[in-house]
Subunit: 229 residues, 2 copies
């Protein structure tokens, strides 16, 4: 585990920043990626500030432009708004050596001016399957972290209560991600099947947002019941 | 509650039979509907046999042909395989007076020869929205019970562990269903938003089936976390 280094492409956004905070706290070296290297450094400093107090060990967070960030990591987590996903994947495709990609994109209609409780259709079936087309075939790709509240992640005092449904066609890649998920307290990684299941997992985000609105809560999430311990 | 009477159209099928068993046990008068009145009576007798021992109160279950069953109930639960849904709804449409419809249909690809972990596309967006077009406009319609394991329902010794996501455009109709859901131990009804959210809720069934297969468990289900008690 200690050799892993996670680049978070779009780490200045809410979900990416939240993941950076949680993993940095757990001692994983983080590289925040952003289109603008300066903004990435700024976000890295904010992560350090948020985490430093009470961190059990050393905290390592730096900020770089997206492609440089991707080139330096064993995991590249892509956490960008749906309309930016394709262009950003193309821009980092050449930098994905000895790494695997974790796509977190949800094609919420809100990202193109619609409602946050609806999705837009993606020709390939899901944002994850679109990502698969844009990342070099030899780079393993999984999809995960769709159903987490970005705000809950950022608030280190907030106890999370969520299963992380991991989709992908490469079983070994899914299992490589599991220990990183478990580094964040109270998240449980589950193998949700082939990448095409991201069609369902991505859509659950819209359902959870609708629960947040209807029940006036900040962080609806989900657990799968009936599984072995 | 004591005045409610539930017709289960397709009550000879697995999910319908399971709902009949659980509600009959709770003392709700049940009418099993089937295309064939004789098979409906047979299923009704099986429900009585399954429930009688240990039932806290009187058990009332009869069997009738679908349209007659629908005509006699305050709730009409439609629990039929996706390819049969449209024809059966048309066949009972004239019998839906003073009642509301609860559609449970999931357009699993398995029902048309495909995989149980995939769905077929429904032009209207979901089986529930297709149902809405086929049921007279003045009859309230909600969609629910998609994510329950039929086998778990039928086994009265099996403790259920599932939220029931209820979709519909008529809030009062959704709330009318809630007490009936709560009559089944450990089910929690949740308002999952407008009928269009059935697109997501129906698809979750395919996800749960895939968990059953991958984790070799019989009854994966789901809970939404982070909601008020």
């Amino acid at each position: 585990m200690s050799q892993e280094r996670i680049a978070i492409i779009g780490g200045t956004g809410d979900l990416g920043f939240g993941l950076a905070v949680r993993w940095a706290r757990a001692g994983v070296p983080i590289v925040i990626g952003s289109r603008d290297g300066g903004r990435a450094q700024e976000a890295a400093a904010r992560v350090v500030a948020a985490v430093k107090e009470g961190a059990p060990g050393p905290v390592s967070v730096e900020g770089l432009a997206n492609a440089e960030a991707a080139a330096q990591a064993s995991f590249v987590v892509v956490s960008v708004p749906f309309p930016a996903q394709a262009a950003i994947l193309k821009s980092i495709a050449g930098s994905l050596k000895n790494t695997m990609v974790v796509d977190t994109t949800v094609p919420l209609a809100a990202t193109v001016g619609g409602k946050p409780t609806r999705l837009v259709g993606v020709w390939q079936g899901s944002a994850a399957e679109q990502a698969r087309e844009l990342v070099p075939a030899e780079v393993p790709l999984v999809a995960a972290f769709h159903n987490l509240s970005a705000e809950a992640l950022q608030d280190l005092k907030h106890p999370l209560d969520c299963d992380i449904l991991v989709c992908g066609d490469d079983r070994a890649a899914k299992e490589r991600l599991f220990p990183l998920v478990k580094l964040i307290p109270r998240l449980r990684p589950l193998d949700a099947g082939p990448l095409e299941m991201a069609r369902i997992v991505e859509s659950i985000t819209a359902l959870l947002i609708s629960f947040n609105r209807r029940y006036k809560v900040p962080h609806a999430a989900l657990r799968i019941t009936g599984l072995p311990e």
